[in-house]
């Protein structure tokens, strides 16, 4: 296993800058999750690390070695593709064997058999081993695609939304399995997801991307509690952070134009008067939609709370986050 270091890498496609002088350090054995909306450059970042794309500027180091001009095979990375990319002319078993039979690895056949069996069990696809890759459901394809990475012992794992097509239960199972495998192997993992829970539970560090730039990097807690900007603050947390004019509750720090309120930043029973417009019972949480002087707020209530539509409440901020006119955080 190895660490990854990106030094100010950039990648342009015609007139889009997919990755914009990004620097990133992933230490050995870390599980780094990349977050960002569609088009932020997450896939392109992984492709630059794997060697499927070469950067116009900057350099990529894996395990302390400059690999910028090396081929993917030389870099020895495993990648789970967003679009699966299973070999359609091969069976599931042959797909899983494929990396082990490569000229780089040339694994003995007994070992291949054991590895494939082991990985198939972890991913719950043992019963599909003799199916053609095309005769699978989307979720099954996705698991085979994860399996093709897991049969190897690469220097780093790159996974592009590997659990996106699975149902909730399987996703939860595999999330735990992936974390277990990663810590057992001491693997370095770079992982792309849109799923909050995955980001918060799997990551040792989270990197937030915006238009090809890395805008914040830190532990999930840091990124959640201490975001650099509104953009970062909206990436984590459900329900999403509420943003309101900063002077709504009276005095605000100088330069602040927006106040950001997560549910835990809202205190009931004092402050401004507001009305409940909707109550959503989600089982493990109850969401309140309230209207405050023409602004809409979403927050959490006690699961057993008896609040109903039309009720009047008083709310006040408690240690909120302030942002300036550009959306940058104001720390005091």
């Amino acid at each position: 296993m190895a660490d990854i270091e990106l030094n100010a890498i950039s990648k342009r496609f015609a007139d889009v800058t997919a990755v914009d002088s990004m620097s990133l350090q992933v230490s050995d054995g870390r599980f780094v999750v990349l977050l960002g909306p569609t088009g932020a450059g997450k896939t392109t970042t992984l492709r630059l690390i794997s060697g499927l794309e070469t950067p116009e500027e900057g350099s990529v180091h894996i395990g302390g070695r400059d690999v910028t001009s090396e081929s993917p095979a030389q870099r020895n990375v495993a990648m789970v593709f967003q679009q699966y990319s299973l070999y359609p002319h091969l069976t599931v078993r042959q797909n899983l064997e494929f990396p082990l039979k490569s000229p780089v690895l040339k694994t003995p056949s007994g070992e291949i058999k054991n590895k494939v069996q082991e990985v198939a069990e972890v991913l719950q696809i043992s019963h599909k081993l003799s199916n053609k890759a095309t005769e699978l459901s989307g979720g099954e394809m996705q698991r085979v695609s994860i399996g093709r990475a897991l049969v190897r012992s690469p220097s780093v794992f790159l996974m592009d939304e590997p659990l996106s097509s699975l149902d909730a239960k399987l996703r939860a199972d595999l999330r735990i399995e992936l974390k277990r495998l990663q810590s057992e192997l001491g693997a370095t993992m770079l992982y792309v997801t849109h799923d909050q829970v995955e980001a918060m539970t799997l990551a040792t560090e989270v990197g937030v991307l915006d238009e090809g730039q890395l805008v914040q990097f830190g532990t999930p807690r840091e990124v959640y509690e201490d975001p650099n900007s509104i953009y970062v603050a909206t990436r984590l947390g459900l329900p999403r952070i509420n943003t309101l004019p900063s002077d709504l509750f009276g005095a605000a720090p100088t330069g602040a134009s927006t106040i950001g309120l997560r549910p835990e930043h809202i205190k009931f029973g004092e402050g401004k008067e507001c009305t409940v417009t909707r109550v959503e019972h989600l089982g493990d949480q109850t969401r309140l939609h309230v209207e405050l002087e023409g602004h809409r707020l979403i927050t959490l209530a006690d699961v057993n709370s008896a609040v109903g539509v039309g009720d009047a409440l008083k709310v006040a901020p408690k240690n909120p986050l302030y942002f300036d006119a550009d959306g940058q955080r104001i720390r005091h």
Binding site: G51, L52, F81, Q83, L86, P88, P99, K132
Partner: protein, 312 residues
């Protein structure tokens, strides 16, 4: 009864089947006529009205493979009894077998030149098509147009320059010369057809193979080629059919050593009267390799294309 929207109803299937069978019958009648003429005796083959029912004979095939000389009845009497059925058929016509004909040799020339040029066209065509499909080639569009433009005139339009060039280069009447010529004609078709097929194969598969530790060439060989099998098979059939049936250049450039079957078969007519059964026998045998080749590749043609394990 359950039914599916995409599955044709049984009535539609019956009608379609009926049309296909009718069409096949119409197109196959001439071939059938050639086939049965090969088993007639020469008098039966030219009788009027034409004979549909007749006693089959192998005389056409014997005549195709042998040269014969006429002998006097006395000489015939003096010979020992015929050693095999071919001898017997020939003696009934008051002749003896003088030796093998050139048909076997010419047929082998066709096989060598036809399959040789098909292999070469496919080999070069696949590599070129892959290169055009996957890499940034300078002036790609112009090059592709140039390659296609070689098909914009009938090949025979350049017969005279080629004839002169081949004579200078010593390629006239050689296997190599004919293989190169047919490859040159076929390669533009091969590049264009194969590029279409390879364009359809998503790059993601090769990328996955590169990540899995393979070089680009190995990825091409292990991942692209198997998926291009349908395209390669159909292109190979087109190339073989052209090279196999080509007549004009074969007449012009070959006379002995490298002569193929198409210019040879008609010359059988000249040997001792109008020997239609021998010509028909030659034509029948001539059809077989393409037929066998097509049946052999049919699995790939009908297999359809499996693009399904990539999420679009």
């Amino acid at each position: 009864m359950s039914y599916s929207i995409t599955e044709p109803s049984s009535r539609q299937k019956t009608v379609a089947g009926f049309l296909v069978i009718t069409y096949s019958l119409v197109t196959l009648i001439p071939l059938l006529w050639v086939f049965i003429t090969g088993f007639k005796t020469p008098p039966d083959s030219i009788s009027y009205p034409p004979k549909v029912f007749f006693t089959p004979s192998l005389e056409g095939y014997v005549n195709l493979f042998t040269t014969r000389t006429r002998v006097t009845p006395e000489q015939l009497e003096a010979l020992p009894p015929p050693a095999n059925f071919a001898e017997e058929i020939v003696r009934n016509r008051k002749m003896v077998i003088a030796g093998p004909s050139k048909f076997g040799e010419r047929f082998m020339n066709s096989v060598i030149i036809g399959f040789g040029s098909t292999f070469l066209s496919i080999f070069l065509g696949t590599l070129a098509a892959y290169g055009f499909s996957r890499f940034k080639v300078p002036l790609k569009d112009d090059l592709l147009f140039f390659i296609l433009s070689t098909r914009m005139m009938p090949p025979i339009a350049v017969a005279i320059p080629i004839f002169l060039m081949y004579r200078k280069l010593g390629l006239s009447d050689t296997h190599l010369g004919m293989i190169l010529l047919y490859t040159a004609v076929n390669i533009s078709l091969a590049v264009w057809l194969l590029k279409g097929f390879i364009d359809e194969i998503p790059r993601e598969y090769e990328e996955a193979a590169l990540i899995d530790g393979y070089t680009r060439f190995q990825a091409f060989y292990k991942v692209v080629l198997p998926q291009a099998a349908t395209g390669i098979a159909s292109t190979a059939i087109f190339c073989l059919i052209f090279a196999w049936n080509e007549y004009a250049f074969a007449v012009l450039l070959t006379s002995g050593n490298a002569q193929t079957a198409p210019p040879f078969i008609p010359t059988i007519i000249g040997v001792g009267g109008l020997d239609w059964p021998a010509v028909a026998a030659g034509a029948t045998l001539f059809l077989l390799p393409v037929l066998i080749f097509t049946i052999f590749l049919r699995k790939h043609l009908l297999r359809g294309i499996t693009f399904g394990a990539v999420r679009k």
